[in-house]
């Protein structure tokens, strides 16, 4: 079923929308969640929470890209689960190395205003668009899909060593860019 039709089902409050989402995006969502929380049972729980969130947020929302919409919610839900797991000393599968990498961007400076966050995201999007499509994909697969480097290598055709290299290099360049643009200290 097309995304548009699924969204219409949500708007009609038709519960078959949930099964359509599960069928179409279940694997996709659980894969992201699994990479973050590190075990499939929690990933499934996460995805069930996501379904509830999607049900509660459409309407009023009417996402153009349902996959991206679900992906965003999965990431948030999985991070919440990850926090709980970390408190219980159970680590995530791939998320910890990703956090280590993103730590380069962290600072004491607090960005709480939504507008400010949007500004940063807009600059990151601008930067990513200057990259080749293949490098964009490396970045997105790592920091949006939370893929392992081996999988990124398999998808993009870069060797794993090159994926490491691209990620390291692009993070540095992005950090410089964001600082130059004055959106990050």
């Amino acid at each position: 079923m097309e995304d548009k039709q699924i969204v219409e089902l949500f708007w009609e409050r038709n519960e078959s929308a949930l099964s359509e989402v599960s069928q179409k995006y279940g694997r996709f969502g659980k894969a992201i969640a699994n990479n973050i929380v590190g075990n499939y049972t929690d990933a499934e729980d996460c995805f069930n929470d996501v379904l509830l969130t999607v049900w509660n947020t459409i309407p009023p929302n009417k996402p153009d890209d349902l996959r991206a919409y679900i992906g965003k919610i999965v990431r948030r839900s999985a991070i919440n689960t990850f926090r709980k797991e970390t408190a219980q000393k159970r680590g995530g599968k791939e998320i910890q190395p990703i956090f280590d990498e993103l730590a380069e961007f962290s600072s004491d400076y607090s960005v709480e205003a939504v507008a400010e966050q949007h500004e940063i995201i807009a600059e990151i999007n601008t930067y990513l668009k200057t990259l080749s499509e293949r490098k964009q994909k490396v970045f997105i697969l790592r920091y949006w899909h939370c893929c392992e480097v081996s999988e990124i290598s398999a998808v993009t055709g870069y060797s794993e060593a090159n994926v490491y290299s691209i990620l390291t290099r692009e993070r540095k360049k992005l950090l410089d860019y964001l600082r130059k643009r004055g959106v990050l200290n």
Binding site: R67, Q117, N125, R134, E151, S165
Partner: protein
């Protein structure tokens, strides 16, 4: 700002960027193919095929372009049939559990092939891939002239080259990699491999039929097949199913991997039937063409070889054989008897069961200990020692080649962890460590310790003195000449691009020289529509290597592209990019 906040913020990245990556990821997960860009061990034909359109960005562009030519779908009409909307029925729900006793007269002999492959049926004469003539040449590893069969090939009137698999199959997987590949993943139960089967093609499904069966997926050919034998379990099956196998379609084909014609037989590791899916997937790894030769059932791979260490009776070959179209011969790279593959499959299954009964933490930083604990290796399994490491380093000289060779000697390193840089350690003895660290650059060190923990001896074994083709100081100039600047849809667009090293010092790049070129994108200045422009193949210079581009040196490249029929009218700019150098200036106009 905390790391978690940054991570969550990245969730808001541009949806178009996410969609592009998601599609590739989905395609990869569905096809189960691995894409390794390094092709050092492959035969020259494969390099040529790859060299012609290898840079993945360009290839995605080609696919993108093809899909745009055809309004998003790739039409084909096998056997001259018109497109039909009714998908053939497939009975994948119970073929494994029932009706295994019914025997097919022409396949019963293949039910237990491991013990006597010579007893297999010889009834493959119906296949269009009559390759028997080539058997006498099998020991000749040079590329042979394609043999033209007596019968007219099934798809002789259609062939357009599109490399669907961006980098083709990489070097053969290690045994451990194959085990990992076949280990069921709870994330993807629908892709659990069931068994190794012998199948016979009934027909390739049309585009519309494929769409009905598999939804959006249109970059693999779906076949209606008769599953003849469960080779893994030694049972005759004789059931009909839809199977996704070769990349591309009947019209748009992967070079060297033409579609199968009715009557063709091949082996395949098929997925288990899965609720809601009306087709099975054939893992690329175990797909071999089946040919009867001198009373023996021989198998021919189309580039996806299993390592000869695991199949010692296999033979490396380099043969082009016309199967279903004279325009795209099948390119065979490995030959073996059916029984050898069946034996290998059964060994794999035993190991998979053994491994599934023991715990193995694939994410542990101590893979060797994990492998030992889980019984994947024995305590006397070879470990990488200093002498072997030095020998490999001397012979290979490139970091990634060295990694590959180290992995062959000791598949499970003593320590492996990635935190911004990758660190892998091999410990030949309690007091010795060979460590590899790579991020922007790579280094291999050897350290010997005293029992009290102090360093007794250390040596840098290898160090890359350059980045992987990246130089922050690199600077290039691009000169563009374009065939014209106004185009109608469907017109061919040609750009000659000269690239000059303007950095004042040599620029070093690693890999295949034929892959060195800028990336060129045509993008609409208003609506963001973009097309990656394919390049004209540059002659392959042979093996991968380290190349230098001298200061002031100029290289020319040609890029060609047909303006798609649905390209939005308006002004487009060319984006030429290599490293941190780019040129955005040249504009063309597509007429409404």
């Amino acid at each position: 700002m905390k790391t978690e906040e940054i991570f969550l913020m990245l969730g808001e990245l541009d949806e178009k960027l996410i969609a592009k990556a998601s599609e590739d990821l989905e395609r990869h997960r569905l096809s189960g193919q691995t894409y390794h860009i390094e092709e050092k061990d492959k035969f020259s034909w494969k390099r040529l095929a790859i060299g012609s359109v290898c840079a993945a960005a360009v290839i995605f562009g080609v696919i993108f372009a093809v899909k745009n030519f055809t309004g998003g779908k790739i039409p084909y009409y096998p056997d001259g049939q018109s497109d039909t909307s009714e998908a053939p029925s497939s009975d994948t729900s119970d073929w494994n559990s029932s009706d295994t006793s019914s025997t097919s007269s022409d396949t019963s002999d293949t039910s237990d092939t491991s013990s006597d492959t010579s007893s297999t049926s010889s009834d493959t004469s119906s296949t269009s891939s009559d390759t028997s003539d080539t058997s006498s040449n099998s020991s000749d590893t040079s590329s042979t002239t394609p043999v033209v069969p007596d019968d007219k090939p099934a798809y002789d009137d259609v062939f357009k080259e599109v490399v669907y698999n961006p980098t083709s199959y990489g070097p053969p997987l290690t045994y451990e990699e194959i085990v990992n590949r076949l280990t069921p993943d709870p994330n993807y139960p629908e892709y659990d491999r069931d068994s190794l089967y012998l199948v016979e093609v009934i027909k390739a499904l049309s585009a519309e039929e494929s769409k009905n069966v598999a939804g959006w997926r249109s970059d693999n050919t779906l076949y209606s097949v008769k599953i003849l034998t469960d080779l893994g379990r030694g049972e005759t099956i004789n059931k009909i199913a839809n199977v996704s196998a070769t990349p591309g379609t009947v019209e748009y084909q992967e070079p060297g991997d033409p579609p199968y014609a009715p009557g063709d037989r091949f082996t395949a590791a098929l997925t288990k039937p899965y609720e809601g899916r009306d087709y099975l997937s054939a893992d690329y790894l175990f797909r071999y063409d089946v040919v009867e030769e001198n009373g023996k059932t021989m198998l021919y791979s189309r580039g996806s070889d299993i390592d000869e260490q695991d199949l010692p009776t296999s033979e490396k070959i380099n043969e082009k054989v016309i199967t279903s179209t004279t325009k795209n011969p099948a390119e065979y790279t490995q030959k073996l008897e059916l029984g050898a593959l069946v034996d290998f499959w059964r060994k794999l299954q035993k190991d998979l069961i053994k491994y599934s009964e023991t715990e193995f933490d694939a994410n542990s930083p101590y893979p060797y200990q994990e492998a030992l604990k889980s019984g994947r290796i024995s305590p006397d399994a070879p470990k990488l020692d200093l002498a072997t490491a030095k020998k490999i380093i001397a012979e290979k000289g490139h970091f990634e080649d060295i990694i590959t060779e180290f992995e062959k000697v000791q598949p499970y390193p003593d320590y492996s962890k990635y935190t911004a840089v990758q660190c892998t350690k091999y410990c030949p003895t309690e007091y010795e460590v060979i460590s590899m660290i790579w991020g922007d650059q790579g280094e291999i060190d050897y350290v010997q310790y005293d029992p009290d923990g102090s360093i007794k001896y250390s040596e840098v074994l290898f160090k890359t003195d350059y980045d992987y083709g990246s130089d922050p100081n690199a600077h290039f100039l691009f000169y563009i000449s374009c065939s014209k600047d106004e185009f109608k849809r469907g017109n061919e667009f040609t750009a000659e691009i000269e690239m000059v090293n303007n950095s004042g010092k040599p620029y070093v790049f690693e890999g295949q020289e034929s892959l060195f070129r800028p990336e060129v994108t045509l993008y609409h200045t208003d609506n963001g529509k973009e097309y990656v422009i394919p390049y004209e193949p540059v002659p392959d210079t042979g093996n991968s290597g380290r190349y230098e581009m001298a200061p002031g040196e100029l290289r020319s490249y040609t890029f060609r592209f047909n303006i798609p029929a649905d390209a939005p009218a308006g002004e487009y700019n060319l984006n030429i990019l290599y490293e941190n150098s780019s040129n955005f200036d040249f504009g063309i106009f597509v007429m409404d």
